[in-house]
Symmetry: C2
Subunit: 507 residues, 2 copies
């Protein structure tokens, strides 16, 4: 996460005139809230997270006397320019401290869970360019930590704690395979450093959401659903795909105070819907929407770092064709079958297989797949031709949230299911997306046609009728409860009838 | 810009089934256009840029037989996650090639200006996840270069050119002081490398906009002005600052196809207006707008990488108070005085001094500054108390565009003017912002009160009347023509009368 240089640049010379206004700490909010009508998040939510982490280490009786040490996200610039990239806090640091500002560090004493934030000592000119120079007292109240010091005091303060070790983050993200760069600072060599304990333990803590976190997940899901409905009201043939993105972002920001989306908006129409991560710089949602197009809009907004991830699929002109209805209902049946089966103890790979199986069975009923049983077709991996991605992923501060392969069975190296971002059994408090998809993508269909083991099951005449329609994805945010699920993304129209009614009512 | 690892990761194993669809190149656009009604930018604009660069080197008779070699921006992820940061091309690479996609390289033969793009060889799975696997033929037509090869062919192709040297980018950005990291790739050691020629020469070329670039600058300015007007229509007491940001972005994207803004939106109300770069993560436009507030909204949208940078200041309730009117008109007078004096050959520091002088003179007239002449006050740097930033900056692909200190007099180390991002004389084809500001910021006023050399000129009673109002900035985008200027941001209301009429008409 850091390089030595970053710490040095934080230690500004503090000469010249200083604004010595003491903030009136009773006016300092002890919560995050963007505006009226948006969610208020008390700083105790993050204190609770810290406690969960300490309790976990104490219960395991490991790292007694140690201090956990974290580096927050740094303010970075676009290439070599002075244009600041809009700052979003690093997720582990956010989970522990709820700090919205860049260039902080934090420490937590394992034994008593006392917390310290280290803030950058900013130059006087900051007040002119960036805003009031906030004091340690301000941040202590705002973030509810036990103390706040400057980063240039960090080594001294940490030494005074006489930690048996500094526990630092070091590990590899199971989604990106990226290495989490361990923090490094001048004077670090005087401490015993433990790089092995923290990364997986904290990932494990992030897997189950606390009641407070669940409130945020409800909020981001409901706001994102409402934003999707705004999009559904305005998208019609003749519109551009990117107008959907613009409308979604606008609604979520205006009504929900949500400045960021959790991932690049996917606003795919027609055959673009078969491109799973459409919408990036090379395919920037720039197609015109045509009358016969199905739309697949996969967007989620975030608040205080927590994000939603919701996909709606609907016909641009407000009326499903028979073919579109069949594909949509197949996908919905898979989605509903999974949600009906979800509860603690259920294996997520089993849910993936259930979704695939549902799709295969519907395809047999319709005569899209022929000449075999569902079992034979499952053995030939027919499902992954039409649903080539994983069923869903943990979600929270990261859209693909951490912990999916911590304390989990190994990745399953078979088509489709190999992309699952977790192989774990479901547990109460997990939030996970349920996002089966049914696509008719050229690449995979052509590849299957060329493979006799798969081609023999394929009714080409039928399949060709669906080519060009792209596909359908129905993605919900779902929390696992003690005995089943809570559907977080409940307020979008989902059935064919609900969608047609919504699209035609709002015209 | 690069690390060895990045090149290696681009050389994917290309095994398995390959989609061999040849694109029908006559359908490939040879221009950039986001949607209907948005600007069409022919790829010849970038070819023209390459030619300007080659002509410059040839005219100087340097680097004959050499090949310029560039690395484009890389797709990066948020921290250690797999969440792609929305890609925006590196500005030098954009200027030369107009490439919207990540992970390209490019080369230009100095002698004949022949151009090669090197594209990543993507795995087959790209077609499923990210979209159609485009071919070299596609990109050759799309970007109008002489040839396109894969990055894994780069060393071979470059060797065949037998260059006398590879000219590569290496230098320090004069705004950020950041080092532009020179590209590096396996096999590079077989070439003679020249790191000294390119950086400043290409920055110099970017300073004067071509007619094609000027079209883009007109477009981004006009669209951004229209977006500001939408904001002015809806901002009223009781709104939140961030609703201004949401509205601006929405309009620019919906109408202009502009997915990005060129810098963090500054939506400051009341005393926040004195914070020059308000709006960042620590001050995220989250104040409620009150009835007596002046608003200072500094926002610009970008298209094909080129950005606008426009500030409007207006009263939230649609009517200026007498004090607000005085401050606004002082700022406008400075803005207009500068624009009236601008033409080729005029020194930009002289324009900065003209703006400061105008403000000081108006303050003397009003009795805000007392006990001295404008000359005496200028010698005491009184202007920089109220306008602590530079008058304006070059703008183009970067909001603070490059070249400001290439072939320029040295930086002037005096209050306020030291922040000028260029000390050059104006030249035809430059685009530069004219953004005088008049602020009553606590930090600088308190500091001046404490300095007897400045305090003696200050009418505290008067100044205290303005405290808390924040400030006013009036920022235009201006192109320098052969005999004067072209005002690019012409379509926003600017005078007190125009603003009051606009705000009250649209209610």
């Amino acid at each position: 996460m850091t390089h030595l240089i970053s710490l040095i640049t934080l230690i500004y010379c503090s000469c010249g005139y200083r604004i010595s206004r003491m903030p009136n700490t009773k006016d300092v909010p002890d919560y995050y809230q963007m505006g009226p009508g948006t969610l208020k998040i008390p700083n105790t939510l993050f204190k609770d997270n810290r406690k969960r982490m300490c309790d976990r280490l104490v219960a395991k009786n490991i790292s007694r006397g140690a201090v956990m040490f974290f580096e927050g996200g740094r303010q970075e610039q676009q290439y070599d320019t002075d244009r600041d990239i809009e700052f979003q806090q690093e997720s582990y640091f956010m989970w522990l401290f709820g700090v919205m500002e860049a260039d902080f560090y934090g420490a937590i004493d394992v034994d008593n869970c006392e917390s310290i934030l280290f803030m950058p000592r900013l130059p006087d000119s900051y007040a002119v360019w960036m805003g009031e120079l906030k004091t340690p007292e301000y941040f202590k109240k705002r973030y509810g930590v036990d103390r706040v010091n400057y980063t240039d005091e960090m080594v001294t303060i940490l030494s005074q704690l006489r930690p048996s070790a500094l526990l630092i983050m070091d590990g590899v993200n199971s989604d990106s395979k990226s290495h989490f760069e361990a923090p490094s600072f001048e004077g670090m060599d005087q401490f015993k450093i433990d790089t092995t304990t923290l990364y997986n333990e904290i990932a494990e803590c992030r897997v189950r959401k606390s009641p407070g976190e669940m409130e945020i997940m409800r909020y981001v899901n409901e706001m994102s659903c409402d934003a999707h409905k705004e999009v559904m009201k305005m998208m019609r043939p003749g519109r551009m795909e990117y107008e959907g993105e613009a409308t979604f972002k606008h609604y979520a920001y205006m009504k929900g105070g949500m400045r960021f989306v959790g991932y690049t908006c996917i606003c795919a129409s027609g055959e673009n819907a078969a491109v799973l991560h459409y919408g990036h710089a090379g395919e920037p949602n720039d197609k015109r929407v045509n009358s016969g197009d199905m739309l697949l809009f996969d967007m989620g907004s975030e608040y205080a770092g927590y994000t939603a991830d919701i996909t709606v699929s609907f016909p641009a002109n407000g009326r499903f064709t028979e073919n579109q209805k069949f594909v949509y209902n197949t996908c919905l049946k898979a989605n509903r079958a999974v949600q009906a089966a979800m509860r603690p103890g259920v294996s997520w790979p089993d849910m993936h297989r259930l979704a695939e199986r549902t799709i295969v069975e519907e395809f047999i009923k319709e005569g899209v797949l022929i000449n075999g049983t569902a079992d034979e077709m499952t053995d030939a991996y027919m499902g992954a031709i039409f649903m080539p991605h994983g069923l869903g992923h943990l979600i929270g501060l990261d859209v693909h949230d951490v912990g999916g392969y911590v304390n989990a069975p190994p990745r399953i190296d078979e088509p489709g299911i190999k992309y699952l971002r977790t192989t774990r059994d479901l547990e109460e408090g997990m939030v996970i997306t349920v996002e089966p998809g049914v696509y008719f993508g050229d690449a995979l269909i052509e590849k299957a046609y060329a493979n006799p083991e798969q081609a023999k099951f394929m009714n080409k005449e039928k399949i060709e009728q669906f080519r060009g329609m792209g596909g359908v994805r129905i993605e919900d945010g779902v929390a696992v409860t003690a005995d089943g699920i809570e559907l977080l993304s409940h307020n979008v129209p989902r059935t064919v009838e609900e969608i047609e009614e919504f699209m035609n009512r709002s015209n």
